[in-house]
């Protein structure tokens, strides 16, 4: 039981780190309205998978989120 919650704790910190990276990247967008929209979109996406308990699923979502973030960073670099 304890081992399960430790892994959950680690995965939770990964999720929070991913959210932090997303927020920091989104804050660099110049257009204020678009930035707000993207932040809300990211928030709803995170909220949608809030109730997941299976570690494998959570890790998959985190990996998908990372990929999204990399694409976003590329797009921003190309736009600037």
């Amino acid at each position: 039981m304890n081992q399960l919650s430790l892994k959950h704790f680690i995965v939770r910190s990964q999720v929070v780190a991913l959210y932090r990276d997303i927020m920091r990247t989104l804050l660099k967008i110049d257009d204020r309205d678009y930035q707000k929209e993207m932040r809300e979109w990211a928030r709803t996406e995170f909220n949608r998978y809030r109730k997941l308990t299976d570690l494998g699923e959570i890790r998959t979502q985190v990996a998908l989120g990372r990929r999204h973030l990399n694409e976003l960073k590329l797009a921003m670099q190309m736009a600037s």
């Binding site: 929070v16 932090r20 927020m23 804050l27 660099k28 110049d30 932040r39």
Partner: protein, 161 residues
Amino acid sequence: MLSSTVRLLMRSGSLLRPLIITARPLSIKPTLINLTEKRKTLINEIPRRWSHVHYTYPMIESRVMLLLRLFDKIDSNSLKLDSRFVQDLGLDSLDIVEITAALEDEFWTEIPDCDSDHFATPRHVIQYLCDKYDVYEHIEPISAGKEYLEEAKAAADRAHH
């Protein structure tokens, strides 16, 4: 060298968009910074180089409270210095991450995860930022010093009379 600094800062428009307008001179060259590096390296150097921007406790407090009021998940009427984020204002860890990211943007500094985990009230946040910028004026001087000063003054007065 100077024009490329200006161009870099102009291109990343968010750097010139503080919540409260404080004058930021572009004439100071960040000599230790590789200008092709991303914004992250710029963040830690700039506040300490612009020594004319005087950080005081009221200034930090007003900026932090304004930032928190502008956050739409926080009810401005119930926001006090000591209102706890999680218990009183009903925020969760993702909201605190958002607030931390906004604070980083506003104060041009980096706040690591290990520090933002300990943010429980706005007062903690303000105290953290005061520590970061070496602001001590809101802290009472220790009373031993005061008594010593009064004794010294009394002794000096006795010596004169």
